[in-house]
């Protein structure tokens, strides 16, 4: 609803806020939503100024889950930070592991065997299914469909978590990738189970879509709500499904193919309106593409080692330098920026969190909508506080 002004510099939130303020003349009410609020995802807090029910100002407040991840990363070894990356975005530990492993491999110039690259793709796409399914459930929960869609989503989540658990030993905190490969080789039975989950997934998506996608209430609540223009999205560094819902074709799996993504055939779904409904639909469509990638990867995975035999695990000391590695995580672009000074610990360990940067435009999207819509808009951004605050 708010277009970015045509200035040589990028648009700022403040300019829009003042314009909207002048247009209203009612008594304003300031509400602190969070950090304990049933509809904020975790301990997120918004300072909302309301005119009646309309949002005229919204300032996010962060830091309630600031666990000092980056400081801890500087005080531990490269490998010691790997379990911490699981706890960044605790839905997507496999992609977090991969992003970190990729950055360290860039820093040290390390190669990864073919089988490990295939395994990484398989696990990343399973993670994408897991994350998008849960997001759809939580979004519907925020829209007031209490319970049922979330239960369907968590039923499917358990199937993928069983795969992760039998492979890595843990449901959520997999700690599976290593610099130069993966930790354990899956058994043939694991691949059979993974194929079964992959084959059954489209059936779940059909069922879910039959219930949700054409639902009149969902359409009324989400279509045209929380529009984001492509120009603002690019300027604000929005990534992931939220960016593609605005129609910007930028998926790192295609734009800068890392791993073996260039070997797979898949499409990148794009939205037209950049509203909440598009953000929901993009995720459903991406899940269908993920199933395609999974089918190809599970069919083509070669035999061989899963770990580069020349790679060092202990006493790992990359030579001085720096590297920025990024991948297309389910929530957007997750990157790691590492500076090495030649010792066993990184000198600087920085995480580029997708959902933190995606929150930049929360105020722009919510202005002029009601407070109930702000809850859905926040739900459609797909944030996880472990990653926002780190």
């Amino acid at each position: 609803m708010i277009e970015s002004p045509s200035s040589p510099l990028a648009p700022l939130a403040g300019a829009h806020v003042r314009a909207v303020h002048d247009a209203f003349h009612g008594d304003l009410l300031e509400v602190s939503m969070g950090p304990h609020h049933p509809s904020t995802h975790g301990v997120f807090r918004m300072m909302v100024t309301l005119d009646g029910e309309t949002v005229v100002k919204l300032k996010p407040v962060f830091g309630y889950l600031h666990r000092n991840h980056e400081k801890l990363g500087e005080n531990t070894t490269y490998l010691g930070s790997m379990p911490y990356t699981d706890r960044l975005d605790y839905f997507c530990s496999m992609t977090n592991n991969w992003a970190y492993a990729l950055a360290v491999e860039k820093l040290a110039g390390q190669a990864v065997p073919d089988r490990a690259e295939y395994l990484r793709v398989i696990l990343a796409e399973l993670t994408r299914l897991l994350n998008h399914t849960c997001l759809a459930g939580f979004l519907l929960q925020d829209a007031g469909a209490s319970g049922t869609p979330l239960m369907y989503a968590f039923r499917e989540r358990e199937k993928i978590l069983d795969l992760f658990e039998s492979l890595s030993g843990s449901r959520m905190m997999c700690n599976y990738q290593r610099f130069g490969g993966c930790r354990v080789d899956p058994t043939p039975a694991w691949f059979d189970a993974a194929r079964r989950v992959t084959e059954e997934y489209p059936r779940f998506l059909d069922e879910y879509e039959a219930l949700i996608t054409g639902n009149e209430i969902l359409m009324a609540r989400t279509q045209g709500v929380g529009r984001l223009s492509a120009a603002l999205a690019v300027s604000a560094g929005i990534t992931g499904p939220m960016l593609r819902a605005c129609g910007v074709d930028y998926d790192l799996r295609k734009a800068e193919p890392y791993g073996f993504y260039s070997r797979f055939e898949f499409r990148v779904p794009l939205g037209d309106h950049g509203d909440t409904y598009d953000r929901y639909m993009i995720r459903i469509l991406e899940m269908r593409e993920s199933v395609k990638i999974l089918q190809q990867a599970l069919r083509d995975i070669p035999a061989g080692p899963i770990f580069d035999s020349k790679a060092k695990i202990r006493a790992f000391r990359p030579k001085a330098g720096e590297a920025y590695g990024r991948i297309e995580g389910p929530k957007g672009e997750i990157g790691f920026y590492l500076i090495s000074d030649g010792t066993g610990n990184p000198y600087r360990y920085r995480i580029r969190p997708p959902s933190f940067v995606n929150l930049t435009v929360l105020e722009d999207m919510c202005l002029g909508h009601t407070i109930a819509d702000a809850v859905i808009i926040l739900g459609s951004i797909d944030i996880v506080l472990g990653e926002v605050d780190r």
Binding site: P35, H36, L65, R87, F154, R171, M172, G386
Partner: protein
């Protein structure tokens, strides 16, 4: 009159086997409330996801009467501290605890809530929520599986069933000097002020049996 009941627990169990139900106010009261513990819908971090998973179809916390997650602390009996408590968050956790009506219980779920866990060395991480509020059940794990949460809940129910209504060993909430309000820490220039509540938490001596 002595405090010893005329009819002991063994007598009651024997009568029950014969088809005669004989009970006490205390037993009915504890049985009823231990079967409908309403937790506060309050998630902090990773463990909260496993808490949600415990309430979903596969693990189904409703079997234990605790599926009614209340959004307001005024309606809740149980605070599940599920995740890392940061120093910025600690005052709000204590405030929520103060707003819950007695009798109330607290479960520290996961390593972070117990001690800070893997994030213990962080400058903004509280090293255990028991520095500010009394904890009834500790569930270790990072994160604990949903089954572990269910086990913790069953242990809590066992504890509730054993509580006395009268006498010298009544639970915390019936003791005359029980503080209804726990002091809420404030944000200082470098740390929380105070950094702990000395009335409920005192550090043990830092020695290990094998390394004196």
């Amino acid at each position: 009159m002595s405090d010893t009941p005329v009819i002991t627990r063994q007598d009651r169990d024997e009568l029950r086997r014969q088809g005669i139900l004989l009970t006490s106010i205390e037993e009915v009261y504890n049985w009823g409330r231990s079967r409908s513990v309403w937790p506060l819908q309050f998630g902090l971090a990773c463990c909260a996801i496993e808490m949600i998973a415990a309430s979903m179809a596969r693990f189904d916390i409703a079997r234990f009467g605790s599926e009614v997650f209340r959004p307001s602390p005024r309606q809740a009996d149980l605070l599940i501290v599920s995740g890392t408590v940061t120093k910025k968050m600690a005052p709000q956790v204590v405030r929520l605890w103060n707003q819950m009506p007695e009798p109330k219980y607290c479960i520290a779920m996961g390593a972070c809530a117990i001690s800070g866990g893997p994030f213990k060395q962080g400058y903004n991480v509280l090293k255990g929520i028991d520095r500010f509020i009394p904890v009834d059940i500790y569930i270790p794990g990072c994160p604990p599986r949903p089954e572990a949460l269910l086990h913790g809940l069953m242990e809590l129910q066992k504890k509730m069933r054993g509580e006395k209504l009268t006498g010298p060993d009544v639970p915390r909430n019936k003791q005359p000097d029980n503080p209804c309000e726990y002091p809420v820490p404030e944000f200082g220039a470098h740390d929380l002020e105070p950094a702990k509540n000395p009335d409920i938490w005192q550090p043990p001596a830092p020695v290990r049996p094998d390394k004196p």
